[in-house]
Symmetry: D2
Subunit: 355 residues, 4 copies
């Protein structure tokens, strides 16, 4: 179930066709879900900015660190060079190395990359150690390759899938969620798509309704609980924006997270990676020396609608991750319940406009 299917309309802008990051033409998403025995509840999610050779045709990109208690690989090169040259892989905290190995093998083996000796593998994570035997390091290079190779267009599976298999969010089962916004033509007609891996805490609010408080489940309720956890947020757009404006977009995604009641607690690794796959602005790895890139770019003055789109899509993607997730039993018999949707919808209804 997705939030919008139940009548929850977040924000004022229209969604893209699938209300998914894949509404940005060319973006591919793949999952590898690893549920084995009683203790393994983890996985991998891969996001590919376009269908081509990502190393040979790099995309402008940026990273914003919402809270850096996390192990994101690849951020400094994105910041320095302004681009992304690999799939983005999400997995668990102790799986970053496997993520890098998968990306590197994938990249080295792609036709055309025979001479490549350096790959900036971009791998993010959240900690699924409550439900998953994370110390066992069960994500392997092969799993990462599987997720990358499974990447496809179209509908994206949400909830307990891929890198969201074992995550917990606001005390409920979290997971993968996605959403998108398509700007009206008068604002440019561009699409912004967001995919999240939710594993964080706070005081849950759904489209403004204080669901966490109503359910009696929120951080610091008894001045004891931790709000820790993390959120990885991937923002894709087809708008012609450079790395600086992508960083500004990335920064707005944290404002979307804030609207769900997230607080970027101390232990949360909250990172946003934003890229534009606008075809004119891709950066060829090989080029004639001194040839100039010919770019087209939106002016700063035209960025605000993209900011709003990012905020809305992030908020909805997080809510979608909660709505799509199911109860999960994992490590040491621990059970994390999903959001009790019937009760949640009652609460939302009770807070609805009565006039």
């Amino acid at each position: 179930t997705r939030a919008r299917d139940l009548g929850i309309e977040i924000g004022i802008l229209p969604t893209g066709k699938l209300n998914s990051i894949t509404d940005v033409e060319g973006v591919l998403v793949g999952h590898l879900t690893k549920i084995q025995g009683k203790d393994i509840r983890t996985g991998v999610t891969a996001i590919l900015p376009h269908r081509g050779n990502l190393f040979q045709e790099k995309t402008p990109a940026a990273v914003f660190v919402g809270n850096g208690f996390g192990k994101l690989a690849g951020s400094t090169q994105i910041e320095e060079l302004g681009n992304l040259e690999s799939p983005i892989v999400l997995t668990n905290t102790l799986g970053i190395a496997a993520g890098m190995e998968g990306i590197i093998e994938y990249t080295l083996e792609l036709p055309g990359n025979e001479a490549v000796q350096s790959v900036n593998a971009v791998v993010g994570e959240t900690n699924d150690g409550y439900l998953n035997d994370i110390r066992g390091q069960h994500v392997r290079k092969e799993d990462v390759l599987s997720a990358i190779r499974a990447a496809k267009e179209g509908r994206v599976e949400e909830g307990n899938v891929g890198a969201g298999t074992g995550t917990v969010c606001f005390g409920f089962k979290g997971g993968i969620g996605t959403s998108s916004r398509k700007l009206p033509e008068s604002l440019g007609g561009y699409t912004v798509g967001v995919l999240v891996q939710t594993n964080f805490g706070g005081v849950l609010q759904i489209n403004g309704v204080p669901v966490g408080e109503e359910l009696g489940q929120y951080s610091f309720k008894n001045h004891l609980e931790s709000a820790d956890g993390s959120c990885m947020i991937i923002v894709a757009t087809d708008a012609p924006v450079n790395e600086r404006n992508l960083k500004r977009i990335a920064q707005r995604a944290m404002m979307g997270l804030a609207r769900t009641g997230g607080i970027a607690s101390n232990g949360s690794g909250d990172y946003v990676i934003a890229f534009s796959n606008h075809s004119q602005n891709r950066i060829a790895h090989q080029a004639t020396t001194l040839d100039l890139l010919q770019n087209e770019m939106l002016r700063n003055d035209d960025m605000s609608p993209l900011f709003l789109a990012t905020i809305e899509a992030t908020e909805e993607a997080i809510i979608n991750s909660l709505f799509a997730a199911n109860d999960m039993e994992g490590k040491e018999g621990r059970i994390v319940k999903s959001l009790p949707l019937p009760r949640v919808m009652e609460i939302i209804k009770s807070f609805g406009n009565k006039d």
Copy 2:
């Protein structure tokens, strides 16, 4: 009128005694309101971290740039040295120079500062040019000195006052607002106070209720309006936190702004300045060479409640700025109406929990 007086309770943490930045013991606030003729609608607000000589007893401090379309003076030295050595002055965009002059004169003339040859004046601004003849540069050094000298403890005037005299927020009259949170002893017992100068746009939400949409007044409503404007946010705390954790606190204030529907639009200068006036950690300007500072500091692990407090107090301070503001007629006969409180309260009521 303040939001809480009308029954609007934002967040889960208790407020300080006055629900004001001055709940942080020692913090002083002063306003100079300049309403003259038909075209001058501006002013100055000064925040002093403590009652002593601010240059001789510096406070740990940090700046977070939510969106840097603004002219904040003093940020790089705060970042480099980790401290604040002056009052914080807020005014209009073209008044930064006057703000600096006022701070410099104030500082040079303080007893004990006879040898001072360098002052890092910290001055923030928002653009009140819709209601105020900003090109006339009517804020003068003397006005700044008046605001600084008027700084006092106790209740802080809100709304159309000081640096908020001519500002506009969410299409309504904005201004100065303040709020605070006092953590329960089990979470440390520290106080976080916030003061805002609101002049920004977006889609107004009050404690989760979509007031902007209900009133039919919000950015991009007809895909035409600008959401531009700015917000200065000052966060004070008595918690023993160093400049790095103050920067983290500052970053959370933008999450509070997000919860009101702000989007940090392109043209918005959204800056947060956070300081701790914890007495043990003040930094003497003069000291024996090689003497070590003896500091006490909260651990990273204990920061999350302060983050939540900052988010909540910022959200409420912004709402307070709107609730306290009155209609204002200014430059060229322009009128900006305040938030229609009776109608707003009806809306909020209609979205209230019916169960």
Copy 3:
């Protein structure tokens, strides 16, 4: 006297025609020197990126903070928006406000700017308080306007002039210096020009020769002296590079400073502002909504020669500032001697290649 005239050839790249920042076509420099009575030894230097209306035709720009103990105005907006919309003004530490006032008046009064209500004035400083009555704040708005209006092409006066009137560098009289590099066509043919305001300490090295040690004048010589002071560095180029690569260029300027023996001591405000006035990439203030900027840009791979050019020109500009300066008597009868050139040239000769 300039270093190169005495046979000192710094680096491996050729200089531009005038070995000056004005070798970058269109860049203008103006000075206002203020020497009055016994105590006033200060001034203003203005750098204009091009001859047009700088506000209406902004230039891509970036700031790098070498050491942020300084009061640079305007940095956060440059960082956020990636551009410069004003002259760059250099003056003394307590003259920043006057610098802003001068820039604002200049900008508001330019034909075409009648509706402007916001100006990001960029003003840097170093502290000339040893020779100048800095507390007297003798730089006025009018002085700033004079420097801006005096800005011209061609040879740039160096030494005790403009913002360098009262500065001290490596214990000798510092001041304004400039230099440039013109890349060979095989490396792009672009020009990089640097202008510095030198007021810092360390262990002076001239083209690798330990002149400071030989002269017995350097920081920490007796483990007592301070190395404090500051350096403002302006880097101009006609190369088509965006704000990100300008930031990388700016960062390299500090490497040029390092080669002179500067150490970016605690008290030093070392800032680099870099801009590109490549005509294709200027940013019109007014434009049709949603029209795209059409930019051309060097690829990352072609940046290294510009980095080297920046390092070399910065090193030489600093040395030029010392060579051009003369003895100066100022506040309280204090005298700062210029570099003893005959002795320095003897030292340099004695360290020359004997083979």
Copy 4:
């Protein structure tokens, strides 16, 4: 051979006892050198901040990015939390994942870490792909563990060893180098130690002497050659400085690199990691909630000697890496010659002071 043994005295400050990073009491260094067959020329170097459990007793730390074309793992968490909780591992570009695996296994298996589920592995690299079959990814987790376990006090092997086995610097064989400075008691008596992995280009200068030009080997000599490559720089100190001042120290290390003729070319991954192992300021992983850290810290005003020490030790460490390296034959029969020391010493002598 070390530079100082040949009479080359870089800087004005005295070295520590061993002129090595291990002069900082408690710092341990271990190498694993992997020379196999004709094509494998790589290795691992591990730096441990102290002898204890690094995860349970974290050290204040900071990262400065000189040029971010590199894959450094762990930087964002160091920046956010201000500390280091693992050994620092250096290896080749495609060995980062193995480095992380080694650190994670080492950490998870340490007594006391049984409950650890998250480790911020810090791994840096340079690209040894000219001499080494880097695509073969010959560094394994076991190699990393070997290097960590081999870490010891005392003299540090330099040159073609560990992570420096296959590196190239200024067109000569690079490698590992180290140096230190011990401040006189009047400046605090603290020690700064530096270790480098050199793999970068530019125009080699040794203690100010233009050796690269004299040897006719330098970047852009024929306007064709690349200056690319990278440098990892680790700075250790026992001085009581917090994460902010460690970042300032880290930034100065790039100034030491500049003094050798390095230019931080586009393709260079130049990173500095600085930590303080001052015993009073270590951060226990486990602590009672709300207990305050009691830290002692040098004031900003006392930092400059540490900056100079860092610059000097970095410069000398780089030169040491060149002096210690030997000719190396590797992949595809390629040979990289070491610096021709007899000729170099002649050059240096010929540039010596003749008076």
